[in-house]
């Protein structure tokens, strides 16, 4: 019996919906009712003793200090206790902190000289590290900052209520509990005041010519898209402040997305069932952004393009070809490219976002972020991999391996493919390694693999799949869409992925 037939049979079994007389329960009813009609059993001696104590308490003259105003004054934040550690942690202190933030008050950017783990006692805490999207932690929830993380948001999440939390830090003995963010002192005073801008998608993007893109450095990472005669560059440091940019290229409407936690840049066709959708950040699932479309309210997982709930649940967005590369490399290739123009206020924050994005080998203590669904330990959580999925087979090409191999001939989902990696700009491209039914095998033609040679016809090709020289001159290989991102993100959404290793 094939899958289709099994599915058809399974559908034959229908279940009824909840009966209409099923009413939502009320949490307080049972307790309230208990207050009126409940009873408890108390042993007679205990009841007697309690009555005597009550009588004594009521007749006793009132002594001691009367409550002062201090008791109701807002609590401060500070150290409650500090203990020197011994054994393997000799030389460190464990510090218990109390944190109280009145609404509207937030901590300036700072770091701690050790890891910190916290528990929200009351209210809601807004917290973020390393300019990642804010996380809201409610009472009873916990938060964790690894050693050295830059604390970029820390305040009450409610405009009208304070937040109260306790936290434990482990710090070198005698050291202060916070350090001013080091990077800030190096930035001009004007930028120091720069406030984070609203994390909102851009639906009417503006573009500038390459010569006007003074906000970009040669090694800044961007997503490059070409369609017809148009080349467009979307700087990652700007995308990471918006989550999504809606745009239209000659091919149709697209949505250019970036998840700052996974370092995932993906471009989707935004037309679904004849309707152009506009996306806006909604929440995090599995440490990856989920964006809601404004038209139907469907939630879409960025890393997979899958509709996870809402009216279009189950639908999948079509990937649009994109190259993740550097500004220097893109401008060299497309001197006439247009560049997404940052909105006022966002350009100032691009340098710090860019530094964070370029630092793509943030391995070690940081590990996978909060909320990651699974942890596949074959690679460090934040190793950058170029992910490729063809016909349900998925492969991760770690950048560390690609820098060594530069050209990989592989077969994924039955399709012969070639992956070309230019180490200087960490630009990875992939193509179907087949021309007129004939499979080709490629080798790098130079150190940076900016051109490659196929062994079958000895033709020379550019790293972008165009044949420059030889019998196949003028042929363009069909592009296969790669998705560079952190390993934890790729592995959690593609369990069972193969990992490429260069021999």
């Amino acid at each position: 019996m094939d899958d289709q037939e099994l599915n058809r049979l399974l559908r034959e079994w229908r279940a009824p919906n909840a009966p209409p007389d099923l009413r939502p329960p009320r949490a307080d009813t049972s307790r309230l009712r208990w207050l009126v009609s409940g009873s408890i059993r108390v042993p007679v001696p205990v009841a007697f003793a309690a009555l005597v104590l009550l009588a004594l308490w009521m007749s006793w003259p009132r002594l001691g200090p009367t409550p002062t105003q201090e008791a109701s004054a807002p609590r401060r934040s500070g150290e409650i206790a500090r203990y020197a550690l011994t054994g393997a942690l000799e030389g460190f202190d464990a510090v218990l902190l109390e944190l109280n933030f009145q609404p509207g008050v937030s901590a300036p950017e700072h770091r701690h000289p050790g890891p910190i783990i916290g528990y929200v006692v009351d209210g809601q805490m807004r917290t973020a590290i390393n300019h990642e999207p804010d996380q809201i932690v409610s009472a009873g929830g916990t938060f964790f900052e690894p050693h050295g993380a830059l604390h970029t948001a820390f305040s009450s999440a409610k405009p009208d209520a304070p937040v109260h939390a306790v936290a434990v830090l482990v710090v070198p003995s005698g050291s202060p509990l916070t350090e001013r963010a080091a990077a800030r002192s190096a930035i001009p005073a004007q930028t120091q005041q720069a406030k984070p801008m609203p994390y909102e998608a851009v639906h009417k993007p503006d573009f500038v010519a390459a010569s006007e893109a003074t906000f970009l450095q040669d090694d800044d990472i961007l997503l490059g898209v070409t369609s017809g005669n148009v080349a467009k560059a979307y700087p990652a440091a700007d995308l990471a402040q918006h989550g999504a940019v809606s745009d239209t290229v000659p091919d149709g409407p697209i949505s250019v997305t970036w998840c700052g936690v996974c370092n995932t840049g993906l471009v989707f066709r935004s037309e679904v069932k004849g309707r152009t959708l506009h996306f806006q950040y909604d929440r995090m699932v599995g440490a990856n952004e989920v964006q809601k479309d404004l038209e139907t309210g469907t939630s879409w997982q960025q890393a997979t393009g899958e509709a996870i709930d809402g009216p279009l649940k189950g639908a999948r967005l079509t990937l649009y070809p994109v190259v993740r590369t550097t500004w220097g490399e893109w401008r060299r290739r497309y001197p006439n490219t247009m560049v997404l123009k940052p909105l006022p206020g966002y350009a100032e924050l691009m340098p710090s976002r860019s530094r964070r994005i370029k630092d793509i080998t943030r391995v070690g203590p940081e590990g996978a972020p909060n909320g990651a669904l699974t942890l596949d330990t074959r690679l460090p959580a934040r190793e950058t991999v170029a992910g490729l999925e063809v016909d349900r087979e998925s492969v991760a090409f770690p950048f560390s391996e690609l820098r060594r191999a530069r050209v990989v001939n592989d077969r994924v989902g039955g399709l012969p493919i070639v992956v070309v990696h230019q180490p200087t700009s960490d630009t990875t491209t992939a193509f179907e390694a087949r021309v007129n039914g004939k499979v080709l095998t490629f080798r790098p033609a130079n150190d940076d693999a900016s051109s490659v040679i196929d062994l079958e016809t000895r033709s020379t090709w550019s790293a972008y799949g165009l044949c420059l020289e030889g019998p196949l001159k003028g042929t363009q290989l069909k592009q296969v869409i790669l998705v560079p991102q952190f390993w934890f993100a790729w592995s959690q959404f593609h369990p069972g992925t193969r990992v490429f290793t260069a021999r």
Partner: protein
């Protein structure tokens, strides 16, 4: 969680929770009880739901599945929750409509296979959501689903001859 939010959650998810419980337990009364208790649990401890860790539906299904397993254990004290060696018997064609036959085959699965099959095939949860609901990793969910489908394939094989052959 405000009353209005709770009401919305109830309206949005009560049918799915009820259907899931109904399929798991074969008893409308038990399904009603489970649905009630799922939402009682939500209103008493709304903070246990963390939207960063998955959808509300997966969270509610997680509670429902714990209650359904409790119900099952009360009735089958000495059976294993996931008997990997369980080989489904082919269904008896003389008893009822195709839908009932399929229902009996699904309910004959060991509970850990059954819940995964129901959540994926009938409630359309993603593997990650199911993993969250049944507190297992995605790989485990996949293998349970695979075993469940193999068992169902075997159990439902006699139904093939009942279908008009397609040409």
């Amino acid at each position: 969680m405000t009353d209005a939010e709770f009401k919305t959650a109830f309206d949005e998810h009560k049918d799915a929770v009820y259907r899931f419980a109904w399929r798991m337990c074969a008893s409308p009364a038990a399904a009603e009880d489970i649905t009630q208790n799922v939402f009682v649990s939500l209103i008493r401890h709304p903070n246990r739901f963390d939207s960063a860790r998955g959808t509300l539906r997966a969270f509610l299904m997680g509670i429902a599945r714990n209650l359904a397993l409790k119900h099952w254990r009360a009735e089958h004290r000495f059976e294993s929750l996931d008997d990997e060696s369980m080989v489904a018997e082919p269904v008896d064609l003389d008893r009822g409509q195709i839908g009932d036959i399929v229902g009996r085959a699904v309910r004959a699965l060991p509970p850990l296979q059954r819940e995964v099959a129901i959540l994926v095939e009938y409630e359309g949860l993603t593997l990650a959501e199911v993993a969250r609901a049944v507190d297992a990793d995605v790989g485990t969910v996949k293998s349970r689903l695979h075993r469940a489908r193999e068992n169902l394939r075997r159990a439902l094989a006699p139904l093939r001859s009942r279908q008009p052959t397609t040409t």
